[in-house]
């Protein structure tokens, strides 16, 4: 499917959507949103790009295969999950927080890292699925 209009639009929409997805991720603790929706948004950004440019272009352009985000994300989530256990012998998932809040994001704590992990896994998994499917379709 080739449409120059769509191509151009997707070029400009991609960063917008990505930004928006990160926005959704970071403020999830305060307003609707969070890692899932954020991750799904980010995937949609790339999917759109792939629709416009073809999957190969999108893959080239992403530098890394999206699958790599999966173990990285898992590792981040798992780390923030077990960090309290390993560092302080507290139950897994116990929230660890920095004392002072940071502008925009708010309080920085293990929950945030956890959500970032979720975000990455969602991006990685969704894109891996969609790209594999569309690859086998062409």
């Amino acid at each position: 499917m080739k449409s120059d209009i769509l191509k151009t639009a997707s070029d400009y929409l991609l960063p917008v959507l990505l930004l928006f997805s990160i926005f959704i991720l970071l403020r999830g603790h305060y307003l609707p949103g969070g890692g899932f929706v954020g991750g799904l948004m980010a995937s949609i950004a790339f999917v759109l790009h792939a629709f416009a440019h073809g999957m190969d272009d999108t893959l080239k352009f992403m530098k890394y295969h999206p699958a790599i985000f999966i173990p990285i994300g898992l590792l981040i989530s798992l780390s923030s999950c077990v960090a309290p256990l390993i560092l302080f012998d507290m139950p897994a998932m116990t929230g660890l927080w920095f004392e002072t809040p940071i502008p925009v994001i708010g309080m920085i704590g293990s929950a945030l890292f956890f959500d970032i992990g979720v975000y990455l896994v969602v991006v990685g998994a969704t894109l891996t699925m969609l790209f594999t499917i569309s690859e086998s379709t062409d």
Partner: protein, 116 residues
């Protein structure tokens, strides 16, 4: 207002099963999706519904100052939605692969005779 959701639940469960009883693989999958939606709404409803009071603590307050919707079912459904998405994505692909093998959407073609 609950009755509305009850009706929807009934329709989704019924239609889901009906679709699962068809011969087409795609219908089968759609049936599963309908059921999944039905289950989500069921959880949502049975956690009791409230209009227009999202469980977001307003700025400046540290607890809710007025009535709010039960956040637990919402969290559960969110989890369930994402899980079903993963599972259904896999199921869709499975269907694609099976079709590629048997060249048909007909579930009745799934039986290599000895499987009976």
């Amino acid at each position: 207002m609950e009755l509305i959701l009850v009706l929807i639940i009934g329709v989704l469960y019924g239609a889901g099963i009906y679709m699962m009883l068809r011969r087409s693989m795609v219908k089968l999958l759609i049936g599963i999706m309908l059921l999944g939606n039905g289950a989500n709404i069921l959880i949502f409803l049975l956690g009791r519904i409230t209009k227009g009071k999202p469980p977001v603590i307003p700025d400046g307050a540290s607890v809710f100052t007025e009535m709010y919707a039960d956040p637990v079912p919402q969290a559960l459904i969110l989890t369930a939605i994402v899980i079903s998405f993963g599972v259904q994505a896999f199921a869709i692909v499975l269907l694609k692969r099976v079709y590629a093998l048997i060249d048909s959407d007909d579930l009745d073609d799934l039986n290599t005779p000895e499987d009976i």
